[in-house]
Symmetry: C2
Subunit: 244 residues, 2 copies
């Protein structure tokens, strides 16, 4: 394991500017539902964000993902029909009339307007039945595909591309429509494209649906619900400060 | 929604150097199991990577995560005991003797050596029973917590911190040990600390367990298994080139 040639001798450290750039991608990333421009995405750029996804961590190095790129307007329309059906069902699920009212005004996808739709999947059988690290939690492979989504999302933001994750589908109908094999799960349906602008804040925050939770309330020490451990006052103070 | 004050007027674009820094974090991130140094992590740094996690995308903006920081050697030891038990079971699951042999030589966690262990959880009831975007896929909240893990992992890499995800536990026993409430799922158990060095390649690749898959074989166009669509030759060429 301690193979010398496999050790990062150079570039181990990030400069302050490089570190800031990573945080910039994290803080300025948005879930984009509108504002898509029809401009095509150059192949080099598309290849780069797919490579970023492909370099996500994966349990047992199984790399369970595939990337189904959808440009066909016909396929997009069929997927949009599935969304519309599920979204109507979703709107009815909220108990309060005000919630149903707000829900109906929300734009939750950009399937037809974004130049590229991308399905990130998980092949549960990619590396055989027994996978290192998946032996005691069979969901770990799906989590690997989610990590690929997040890598792609941050890379896309750095490329000036907006990404929106659409999850309001009957998954079985989506799987059937896309003709995915039995062992392949559709993990994320993404809409990708250049955008008019990025919002500063999540749209659901701006819409007054929910506020950002105070981070210091979400951090516990050694035991569940122990939020004010001895000697941790300084960390709690930092957590309570705005991130940027 | 088109609230002008919520639009990024500045900093919309990333410079080439900023973009490269994001890719650097993605490509040089490793799943660290050994090489941890005991050096404490400054509170400012720890707060920054937790803020990065907290700014992950979350379904319906529900922010379902908590962060349980474990420094107690006693708790770490109890968790390590759970790992040992599960890892022994795991080793027995591989069919081939050579696989069992290799498995037994792999170091798969740094629970006791890393100064901080961090449990990232998902509170399934954080935002009530009906959540925007979770109506048709109840796993979406867990995926949000996974996105938080990946944000933290990349931020940690930019801070020079190694992170390892340990998944070889009986999850119910882990949940009981950590006294998590019924509705809270432990999504990721992470070991975090400064490291002697980062490996250039994933350790399972170096060990000859699995190779990195050719990305161009994983990308399909409009239809499952359609890997050579018309007019996509240029993209396929880019996909087949090394990422870095």
């Amino acid at each position: 394991m301690e193979n010398q040639t496999n050790i990062h001798q150079h570039d181990h450290q990030f400069s302050d500017a490089e570190r800031q750039a990573v945080y910039k991608s994290i803080y300025s990333r948005r879930d984009v539902r509108g504002q898509f421009k029809p401009d095509p995405i150059p192949d080099e750029v598309l290849a780069r964000i797919l490579q970023a996804a492909h370099h996500a961590p994966s349990v047992g190095f199984m790399q369970p993902w595939n990337f189904l790129l959808i440009k066909s307007q016909q396929v997009k329309q069929q997927v949009h029909d599935l969304f519309k059906k599920a979204n109507h069902e979703a709107g009815e699920m909220f108990e309060q009339e005000t919630q149903r009212q707000i829900y109906s005004t929300l734009k939750l996808e950009g399937i037809l307007e974004s130049p590229i739709n991308l399905v990130v999947t998980c092949d549960r059988e990619r590396a055989g039945p027994v996978v290192i690290g998946r032996t005691h939690d069979m969901a770990m492979d799906v989590y690997s595909s989610v990590c690929a989504v997040q890598n792609l999302w941050l890379a896309a933001r750095a490329e000036g591309l907006g990404v929106g994750w659409v999850s309001i589908f009957d998954r079985l109908e989506l799987k059937k429509l896309l003709q995915l094999p039995t062992q392949v799960t559709p993990v994320a349906y993404l809409c990708i494209g250049y955008v008019e602008h990025f919002f500063v804040e999540p749209e659901l925050k701006t819409a007054g649906w929910l506020d950002r939770l105070p981070l210091q309330d979400l951090v516990f020490f050694d035991q569940w619900e122990n939020s004010h451990a001895e000697h941790e006052e300084k960390l709690v103070k930092y957590l309570s400060q705005a991130a940027y």
